[in-house]
């Protein structure tokens, strides 16, 4: 009888508390807490033990352990292992900017360079193809990172750097530096970098000139050597009247 009473109390309490639990759970998700979905895909990626540990509230710790393993793999230049590990890490901790950034850096910069200088592959075309595939992997990490952290500027900036340094795609680089600059907590140089990249885009010289000139006027701290040289270059390209030009650069 007492057992039945206790069981009934538990069930009644459960019925009373689940709407509250559900509401708090929904509020957590809307505030970007517990963004991870515990499904079969995750279990296949991190293994049974890792899955159980992640379920028990230690996913951040597991992500860190795996991150340390990437250093070991990096020392061995085992790019395939690094890719697998970073996929697991970013699945476990999708809100950590650094993991996405590091994953992209390893793929697009380190693995990409290693692929281009691969002495076991005599054909240059295939080495370049492999390098482009690593660039794509890096880009994919950053794009997924942005989807998981749309309100943070760091990954927009990292993607802009990837477009600028690896793809030489100044238009996209300008777009993503601009997006980074528009977000709270963006570094002060993001806006300047967006204008620099725009100044390399054919047909958008006037827009780039206006932005760079605005920066030139706003503060003396913005008058850095690159900004001055890009402005000078655009003044010549756009044939800006002499009286509207900035003073010549000191030689």
């Amino acid at each position: 009888m007492r057992f039945f009473a206790v069981f009934l109390s538990l069930a009644m309490f459960g019925a009373a508390k689940w709407p509250a639990e559900h509401a708090i759970s929904a509020a957590h998700r809307s505030e970007h807490f517990r963004a991870l979905n515990f499904d079969l895909g995750l279990r296949e990626q991190i293994g049974q033990m890792g899955f159980v540990a992640a379920l028990s509230g230690f996913r951040s710790l597991i992500a860190d352990v795996l991150f340390i393993q990437t250093h070991v793999a990096w020392e061995r230049t085992d790019w395939g292992r690094i890719l697998v590990l970073f996929r697991q890490i970013t699945t476990l901790q999708p809100r950590e900017i650094l993991f996405w950034d590091m994953a992209a850096w390893h793929m697009a910069w380190n693995a990409g360079t290693a692929a281009l200088n691969d002495s076991t592959q005599p054909r240059l075309a295939l080495r370049i193809k492999a390098q482009r595939e690593y660039f794509q992997l890096g880009k994919d990490f950053l794009e997924r990172g942005i989807r998981n952290n749309p309100e943070r500027p760091q990954l927009y900036e990292a993607l802009a750097r990837l477009y600028r340094d690896k793809y030489k795609d100044h238009e996209h680089a300008a777009e993503f530096f601009g997006k980074a600059a528009g977000l709270p907590g963006a570094p002060s140089y993001a806006k300047r970098f967006a204008a620099y990249e725009l100044s390399h885009c054919e047909g958008r010289e006037r827009e780039a000139y206006d932005r760079l000139h605005a920066l030139y006027i706003v503060s003396e701290n913005e008058r850095l050597p690159t900004l001055l040289s890009r402005l000078k270059h655009l003044e010549i390209t756009l044939d800006v009247p002499l009286d509207q030009r900035i003073p010549d650069l000191p030689r």
């Binding site: 538990l10 759970s25 505030e31 515990f38």
Partner: protein
């Protein structure tokens, strides 16, 4: 019949049982080992941080808060599971209950002793963690200043600000409070289980299962509410899990707090309140079982 000077409920009696329980628990070797292990782990996180370059604070916070969560949960279960069986073995329980001490007061005193022990552990671990974090921060700040000594002052100030911002975050405190709320819930639930369990081992094993089921409860609840394709038997099982077990995933916020996700005050208050509400409810249940238990 009670004597004229006897009160039905006395904070003094509860305080005496609490103080006694706390003293007993602090003498436990298992408590010392667990605490030492926790401290060692937090200390080792300083060493581990040497392996990484950009994310040393991240690793430090993850390891410290993860171990804090693990050890407070362990401590809550292990310390509470042995309370009643130990008192029965020592015959202390009979001595106490032979006096005019209501069983509810006895349970409240015992649980309060564990909660006090957990609070002390959390405070000690938090203090060590913050000291470790501060030491690492000072080292990194010093290194940054040395490396950027030739840079313009604004750039150096921006770099130092970035280091400080990534080290200490006020949101760590609500995160630690939620860890404590979860430990309180587990302690109270363990007390409830131990009122009908025969041995502390049985209680501990049951609690390990409850711990895992509690972390899966949210998935069961979502499936129960959303899935229409599963059979009625599965739905009954999911409802059973949802209704009978606490959702422990609600108390796992530190994973996201360490990566900079801010917890709004209202949400923190709701989560903490749910934890303490659970603690109270399981205490009442424990009393219901213990009230007429044959001793």
């Amino acid at each position: 019949m009670n004597s004229p000077g006897h009160r039905a409920f006395s904070f003094g009696r509860i305080a005496a049982i609490t103080a006694n329980t706390l003293t007993e628990l602090t003498r436990l070797k298992i408590f010392h080992v667990v605490l030492l292990f926790a401290l060692l782990l937090i200390g080792s996180s300083i060493f581990m941080s040497q392996f990484t370059f950009q994310q040393e604070f991240q690793v430090l916070k993850d390891v410290a808060l993860g171990s804090m969560s693990l050890f407070t949960s362990l401590l809550a279960v292990v310390a509470t599971a042995r309370l009643l069986p130990q008192d029965l073995d020592d015959r202390t329980l009979y001595t106490i209950l032979a006096k005019p001490v209501p069983r509810f007061e006895y349970l409240v005193g015992k649980l309060a002793g564990v909660l006090l022990l957990l609070a002390l552990s959390v405070i000690i671990m938090s203090a060590l963690f913050l000291i470790a974090l501060n030491v690492r921060e000072q080292i990194v700040l010093h290194e940054t200043m040395r490396q950027m000594s030739a840079s313009p002052p604004e750039q150096m100030a921006e770099a130092l600000r970035a280091v400080s911002a990534s080290a200490f975050d006020m949101n760590l405190f609500p995160g630690i409070a939620i860890i404590y709320a979860k430990a309180c819930l587990l302690a109270s639930l363990t007390l409830f289980v131990s009122t009908f369990a025969t041995t502390s081992i049985f209680t501990t094993v049951v609690m390990v299962f409850i711990y895992f089921i509690g972390h899966l409860q949210a998935i069961a609840r979502e499936s129960w509410l959303q899935s229409n394709s599963v059979g009625w038997l599965t739905r009954v099982f999911l409802a059973f899990v949802t209704l009978l077990f606490p959702d422990l995933q609600l108390f796992n916020l530190v994973d996201d707090i360490v990566v900079g996700t801010a917890i709004p005050l209202a949400l923190f208050a709701k989560t903490a309140a749910l934890g303490f509400f659970y603690t109270g409810f399981y205490l009442l249940l424990a009393w219901t079982v213990f009230y007429r238990k044959e001793l």
